[in-house]
Amino acid sequence: MISYSFDFSFLLTTWPAFMRGAWQTILLAGTSIALGFVVALVCAIIRSGKSKLASGLVGAYVEVIRNTPLLVQIFIVYFGLPSLGLRLSAETAAVIALVINTGAYGSEIIRAGIESIAKGQIEAAECLGLNKLQIYWHIVLIPAVERVYPALSSQFVLLMLSSSITSQISAQELTAEANLIQSETFRSFEVYLIVAAVYLALSVLFRVVLWAIGEVAFVRRRKLRT
């Protein structure tokens, strides 16, 4: 049998780097989630809207993103855009790529929510005198997002985990920090085990925060459970 003796002593000196990496991942993923949600919402609205052209364009964007690898999308933003004269830091490029990516996935989720709103709901609101915008906000969008919020939350946690891939362009985040530590300590196994544990903790953290946001935003969910 192969024997391997674990040695975690490097943690004594490197734990601040892990913490820094975790914090950078929180910032990177948090920013991407917030902006990605806005993009997803806008795209979902356009896609379920009346304009065939706009809806088609958004549809094309969604399909392209969903059928290409995230890593390639990141490379295009980071290495491609400078050729057009747009110089981006690795972190900015990472956020842009993650927002574009999660905007596409999120818009499909929200669109499903929008389309699940029954026609009778809208007619009832029309009969009560609400105008188009009021109906869209109160009767379509809010319940649609409420309905798909669990799926959306999972998508956002997935985004946080996927953000590790931005280490490939050396964006500052947890996996990049780990790569650095690994190259200095040569304890690959231990380093990545620890990184996995930290990602696990981050997943729990993101889930809890997203859950709490849902509790505040969607009162019914909270009330009907008690």
Binding site: G120, L128, G129, L130
Partner: protein, 262 residues
Amino acid sequence: MSVNEATGTRPRNEAVPGAEPIIVVDNVSKSFGPLQVLHGVSLTIERGTMVAIVGRSGSGKSTLLRCMNALEEINGGTIEVCGNKVSMGDRPSVKRLRTDVGMVFQSYNLFPHLTVLRNITLALTVVQKKSRAEAEAIAQKVLAMVGLADKAEAYPEQLSGGQAQRVAIARSLALSPKVLLFDEVTSALDPELTGEVLKVMEDLAREGMTMVLVTHEMAFARRLADVVVFMHQGKVWEAGPPAEIFADPKTPELRQFLSSGL
């Protein structure tokens, strides 16, 4: 029809001798693509009366009701509600129409994400720009009218069908409409729950609300309607006071409809 039932008409019938038309449907046609659903329908509804529209499934009853409330665009003829011509394209006229007319649906169409109270106050605050407090006072009042004062904080999924439908009626009432349209509002309910909804509608009728209802509740129509309209193949086939319509049908179609066990 027995003598007893014939005398069961409401006192307000005499009080309002059909003076003031509130809805005038004139020669209205409506098609869905190649399918013509309404063929030159004409109908006048007087203020303070209850008009019951009966007929077989598919005869165009719902479509007629929906045309009255600009949920469907008509292809010919005119509809006037409270003196205003109904036209889906004309936004100010639709807006006026919505304040004059309330509508209650078979499937309740309560907003599932909002409490009963918020279902009722939504239009009061968002459309009529009333303060929250004022809107809630109105909501409490109409909830009491339908016997559901204790359900203000409930969510629609916590209600029985009968309760949900009464909330839907209260939601329409809160906006003080001049006319209420009811499209088979008891058809989705278990038989033991229809009574509580019909009771609310009867109360409204007695208070003089103008009501147009599409219904299969023949006993209810016979007892409370001022006018019964029998629709057949997209036309007003027969119309008149319930005593005439039920006791003395003129056409074989109506006779057959009445004897078909409805």
